[in-house]
Symmetry: C2
Subunit: 220 residues, 2 copies
């Protein structure tokens, strides 16, 4: 039996302007522990902005989402436009503000957000092929926007304002703790709050481990 | 009983010019799992260079080690010059080329390397206070340079050229596998090869989990 392959969509490197690093690394760890091959992917676009993670202030730098994501992937990463969803068994999106800034515009436009066309195409196609999808931290807003009219069940923890945006797209939000997951068996969508709630690596890792195992169990 | 505190010295964010991200995140995870508070630290210096992790090529950018390390630490990081080793129970150094480029000059000068004065002071002081020290991946070259004349036992895996440099400083190298550790009980120094050998997150995490547990067991 050949190894299962799971795509991991990254959005930069650092939670204030890119992928939440811990969430991404735990995703790769638990996929590797389950004997699954992971394919890291990111869009080849400029970051919406760059934040100095020491001071929290925006800088004047320009950074590229694919290039910065390669730091987490140890150089082993693909431009998402070059990946065919049919080659993968499942897809997982870690969070961080990068998911809300570089993969969609939730971070700047709230409920008026749009999703990067490559990301939207990839998720829609994967979903239509019956591939399970995992969404971590803030990334369920992307699931809600792209799949919400199917009343897909999602969690981003317990943040009321974000939950309202998710429900405004037609998805159903349920409150969950950091070390727990929301599972929509019908649509094969799994989500976990991770650093939307914190408090630290141990609890976030527990939630992501459950998400990875559940996503893998939903592969046909 | 108050929580134990362990310092984690970072060297940027990304294995080709900074901290090996997976190694750092696993260190934080296993410290958190053991109920230990971690204090991330880095020197406030410019990176030796910046590498595009997608192409592997050097760029013309300037990045600061403390600022980039803050991405892994989620903003919760201190300038190492402001930390008193007496406040910590142990210290761990993840690897990545950052350890060999930004914390010392092994990456550019080999056996003629020197160690950043703040890092040297911190490690010497911690060691003289009897604090256990953990070194991951390439960072044992720093231990060898600073503590080598005590014939401290170390591993960087099985790379002959690096092992020879380590022994040239007076330390003793022993070959180890990725999921194993080298322990010098007398000098309270623990090391593990991590991504000096690879092959991926699962094995690297196993070695780092052993290292973290052993370092904590050596605290007086």
């Amino acid at each position: 039996m050949s190894k299962k392959k799971v795509g991991v969509i990254l959005s930069g490197c650092g939670f204030k302007d890119g992928t939440e690093i811990h969430e991404a690394v735990f995703t790769l760890l638990f996929l590797d522990k389950e004997g699954v091959e992971y394919i890291c992917m990111a869009p080849d676009v400029e970051q919406t902005f760059v934040v100095n993670h020491l001071t929290g202030e925006r800088t004047n730098e320009k950074r590229n989402v694919l290039v910065e994501s390669a730091r987490i992937a140890r150089g082993n990463i693909k431009n998402i436009k070059d990946v065919n969803p049919e080659e993968l068994d499942a897809v997982i999106l870690p969070g961080g503000f990068g998911a809300a800034l570089n993969l969609c515009s939730f971070g700047t436009e709230g409920k008026n957000m749009s999703v990067n066309p490559e990301i939207e195409r990839f998720i829609k196609k994967s979903h239509s092929l019956g591939k399970p999808l995992g969404f971590i931290c803030i990334s369920p807003v992307i699931a809600a926007k792209v799949l919400g009219n199917e009343h897909v069940k999602l969690t981003i923890g317990n943040d009321k304002a974000t939950a309202e945006v998710i429900e405004s797209f037609g998805a159903k939000h349920e409150n969950k703790n950091t070390d727990d997951i929301s599972v929509d068996e019908k649509y094969k969508v799994v989500s976990t709050p991770a650093y939307m709630l914190g408090p630290g690596p141990k609890d976030v890792a527990n939630g992501i481990e459950k998400l990875v195992k559940k996503v893998l169990s939903l592969i046909k």
